[in-house]
Amino acid sequence: MTSNIILPILQLIVIVGFSPLVKGFINKIEARLQSRRGASIFQPYYNLVKLLQKDAVVSETSSWIFRATPYVTFVSILIISLIVPVLSVKVPLNFTGDIILIIYLFALARFFLVLSSLDTGSAFGGMGGSREMMVSSMAEPAMILSLFAVALTADSTNLSNITNTLLNDSILLLNPSLLLAFAALGVVIIAEAGRIPVDNPYTHLELTMIHEGMLLEFSGRYLALAEWASSMKLLVLLTILVNIFLPWGIADGLAFSGLIIAFALYVVKIGFFAFVIVIVEMSFAKLRLFRIPNLLGTAFILSILAIISLYVVR
């Protein structure tokens, strides 16, 4: 019984609590590599605390959709964080759903965010929303196919089962199709999380604004929720990546010592991928909007190849 309560709380703490830290870490490293001192690694927390204590200014033209959106986005990503294995192979809401549900819960969050961006009636929001839909439409096939390649390797679409299978049979991990799926998923994650070759997370004023353009009218608590949801999304996506492709060290039960080791390794792995994101952001310029389909098209081709090579390896 206690395990039924501990695990969800643990996962929520990790995902909700540490997601701003990941963002802070990325910003800090990036600043350092550009030989700036950069803000404190805890800056995202300060921002959130500040924003949560403020009242909100809401656009007159907007409706209840606008006010509901931050909650819907936040909660849908909270649900995802309970379906994804984080520290242990066991997952709190295992019977609730699989990767398909996760993909469509992301779609739910996105759907409402785009609606809210249209709700304010400003051209910025509309532009951001339209581009977000374009990028996600291009990213979704690649994401689904790469996850399918993994699902076919592990014979299940359930993330907990996938991680379990890959953990126990490490020969499966030495698999070219997983490598291809990994590459494809990496590209997709960069696009979905709105990082640099696709979107610039630091400003809404660049002409290619996507995610930040949609958040333009949010303020106070709403902005805090939306920002928090976006950093949680990044962490959840990285967690999926890490626990599918590098599952070593993840606890297979709820033993305390196992969880501690799992947590330490988890921090290292996520830190490593955050660092990779920094490197990517440092070494690439933002793509032109209409080059993005090319990038995502490449990811798509990689994921198709992942599945084809799966047929051959079998």
Binding site: S59, V75, S122, A123
Partner: protein, 677 residues
């Protein structure tokens, strides 16, 4: 018991139709009576279907009127019952909805006639899915086509509607002709004179390979025209918007599903066993229709045309499932075959529900604003406070957003495509996976399309006077739509209950009961092949979502107890916000037009008018159009060819009576010689 109910329901429809005509002067009353009769009749047929499905029974109805040659045979097996359930549920809601919607036409048009046709239309669909005899089937199929043709041209003073109607009737008749040929080919192998479907079931599978293949293609095209598959879709996005909304709701929601019924009957009963490549053909057709349908819906501005294109897409998804099921069946993987079949049937009824809901809400919008152009709307969420959330439910369902019903069938579709991996042929494996990618892309595009449809027409500020003065519609119109919205939520949250129903159909068609490997407690699971084990419980996702929402809300209130909102105008770089600054539907899909430029061939025309000293622009007009490549490169040459042929044939028609008589004479002589030989 059930058969009596069914007969009563048919009779009630007929009475309703005739009564409508009897009210000579009181058009309003006539229309009202006919719709009430339709609603009651559909209650009867719903009960029939529920009774039959609850025990999986099969009932036969045979009438022999004095025409000896036609045996009026009807069969109510689980397949028919399932379609009856779908059709009559939608009919019930549509009938109630029509009571409100037809007020648009009161005192302007003959609404009695509308009621008459409407009842005939509903009953003809019921008869199509129950007919058990090729001749009866063709008669009711024609009845359905002709009645719907009259409904399409109901607003006949608009030349566009007439054109749509004529294209519809021509294409539908090509389809019927091909179906008739298919039936005759099968009939030729039967050897009895009663054209019964039962004979086809016995003989169809044993026909020579060549004939089977011919019938296969005839049936694809014949029913495919009705289903709106690409490139035979031409009539659909024209006719559905042209009809009054209460009709297009039924046409899009259930009439095009009769084609799926035809596919199931032919490919799983008459022609079974099928070679694998048939399934592959169907699969590819489905995938193409799904993708192209949604791509065209995406750039559409007329909300009803958009919904019509989206019907093509959804029918494509169902056809994908049917094709997949056929392939599995031909490899004798019956469990997987029924998985795909369940996916298709589930999506079929889902689509019927949410598409009717969306059409109904689009009708509400039209009723309130008298425009169908999304770019003229805006801000309706504040003016139509009940229609807006209903439309949102429909939009979320069709975009397969959990926990609504669209998601469940999408999940099934993905699971069955994923299981395509177990098929022995490599090329088919690869095709199924590519189909998976197509379905994924389609899903994402559907979301975009309906974000646009809802966001542009309901949110922000009204763009024109039409939208500014919109008022909420009469009660019946949103109450009936509310029923459908509730159904969307119910079918999304409790899929296991629906599964039980679908399973009867599946058991009947494929002879295997897999409900135990698909459901546990009240959620879904996947325990069919190998170890692919996974579960899905939309209800639990929903409940936990609510709990988490409560926690979030509580925590936020703790952090800031007196949270307040100030209202202020949107920031638009210092100007005061006005509707002209809003993003339009055209602008919203502009990136897609660029990305898919090869398909759309967008044509843009920007013309500016300057002030007299050419420094300032007085006005800019921007026209952006998508070239209809199917019309241009497929129908263009075909119709040109037909015209050329007719031109060549024209010299035969001289207009002189003597020449015509000569023709008849020559024909007679030839016949006599032929007979004499």
């Amino acid at each position: 018991m059930a058969e009596h109910l069914f007969v009563i329901s048919v009779l009630l429809y007929a009475t309703g139709a005739l009564l409508a005509l009897c009210f000579f002067k009181w058009q309003k009353a006539g229309n009202f009576i006919s719709l009430v009769f339709a609603a009651i009749a559909s209650c009867f047929s719903i009960t029939t279907a529920v009774i039959l499905l609850s025990n999986g029974a099969t009932v036969r109805l045979n009438f022999s009127l004095y025409h000896a040659i036609i045996k009026y045979n009807f069969l109510l097996d689980p397949v028919s019952s399932y379609f009856i359930l779908a059709i009559s549920s939608i009919s019930f809601v549509a009938a109630i909805y029509s009571i409100g919607y037809t007020r648009l036409y009161i005192n302007k048009r003959d609404t009695r006639f509308l009621g008459f046709l409407y009842n005939l239309f509903l009953v003809s669909m019921l008869l199509v899915v129950t007919a058990n005899n090729a001749l009866v089937f063709m008669i009711v199929w024609e009845l359905m086509t002709i009645v719907s043709f009259f409904l399409v041209i109901y607003e006949h003073e608009n030349p566009a509607n007439m054109k749509a109607g004529f294209i519809y009737i021509i294409m539908a008749h090509i389809g019927s002709a091909l179906l008739a040929v298919a039936f005759f080919i099968m009939f030729a192998h039967v050897g009895t004179w009663d054209f019964g479907f039962d004979d086809f079931r016995k003989v169809g599978g044993r026909m020579p390979e060549v004939y089977k293949n011919v019938v296969f293609f005839l049936v694809i095209i014949g029913f495919g025209i009705k289903a709106g598959i690409f490139p035979l879709h031409l009539w659909l996005p024209m006719a559905h918007p042209a009809a009054p909304t209460n009709v297009s709701m039924v046409m899009s929601g259930v009439m095009i599903k009769t084609a799926i019924y035809g596919f199931i009957r032919f490919y799983f009963e008459f022609l079974s066993p099928c070679p694998p490549w048939w399934g592959v053909v169907i699969l590819i057709i489905g995938a193409t229709s799904a993708l192209l349908g949604i791509l065209y819906a995406l750039v559409e501005k007329d909300i009803k045309t958009l919904l019509a294109y989206s019907s093509i897409e959804n029918n494509g998804l169902i056809i994908i499932c049917i094709g997949l099921s056929m392939i599995f069946k031909s490899y004798n993987l019956i469990a997987l075959s029924s998985l795909a079949m369940i996916a298709g049937l589930y999506h079929l009824v889902n689509h019927a529900v949410f598409k009717s809901l969306l059409f109904g809400c689009a009708g509400n919008v039209y009723y309130a604003t008298h425009t169908k152009n999304i770019d003229d709307l805006g801000g309706l969420i504040k003016r139509m406070q009940i229609t807006a959330p209903l439309f949102l439910v429909g939009v979320l369902s069709i975009s397969a957003i959990p926990p609504l019903n669209g998601f469940v069938s999408e999940w099934f579709v993905f699971q069955s495509l994923l299981n395509g991996f177990t098929m022995p042929s490599v090329i088919i494996k690869i095709i199924t996976i590519i189909c998976g990618a197509v379905v994924a892309l389609t899903g994402a595009l559907v979301a975009t399309c309906f974000v646009k449809a809802f966001g542009i027409s309901f949110l922000a500020m009204p763009r024109t006077e039409h939208a500014k003065h919109a008022k909420e519609v009469p009660v019946v119109m949103y109450v009936s739509m509310g029923l459908l919205a509730v159904l969307c939520v119910f079918m999304g949250l409790f899929p296991a209950k629906i599964m039980m129903t679908v399973n009867h159909v599946n058991t009947h068609v494929l002879g295997i009961d897999i409900v135990n490997s698909l459901t546990s407690y009240d959620w879904l699971q996947m325990k069919i092949v190998r170890t692919n084990f996974t579960q899905l419980s939309p209800k639990s996702a929903f409940v936990f979502g609510l709990i988490l929402l409560g926690i979030t809300f509580g925590a936020l209130t703790l952090i800031r107890p007196g949270f307040a909102r100030k209202f202020y105008e949107t920031w638009t770089c210092g100007r005061s916000p006005e509707p002209r600054l809003e993003y339009t539907a055209t602008a919203f899909t502009r990136p897609f037009k660029t990305v898919f430029a090869n398909l759309y061939r967008p044509q843009r025309e920007v013309s500016m008018v300057y002030t007299v000293p050419k420094f300032f622009v007085k006005s800019i007009s921007y026209v952006s159009e998508v070239s209809p490549i199917f019309e241009k490169y497929f129908y263009g040459p075909v119709s040109q060819f037909v015209l050329d042929i007719s031109n060549k044939v024209r010299w035969v028609h001289t207009g002189s009576i003597h020449i015509y008589l000569t023709y008849i004479f020559i024909t007679l002589i030839i016949l006599i010689i032929f007979v004499g030989k």
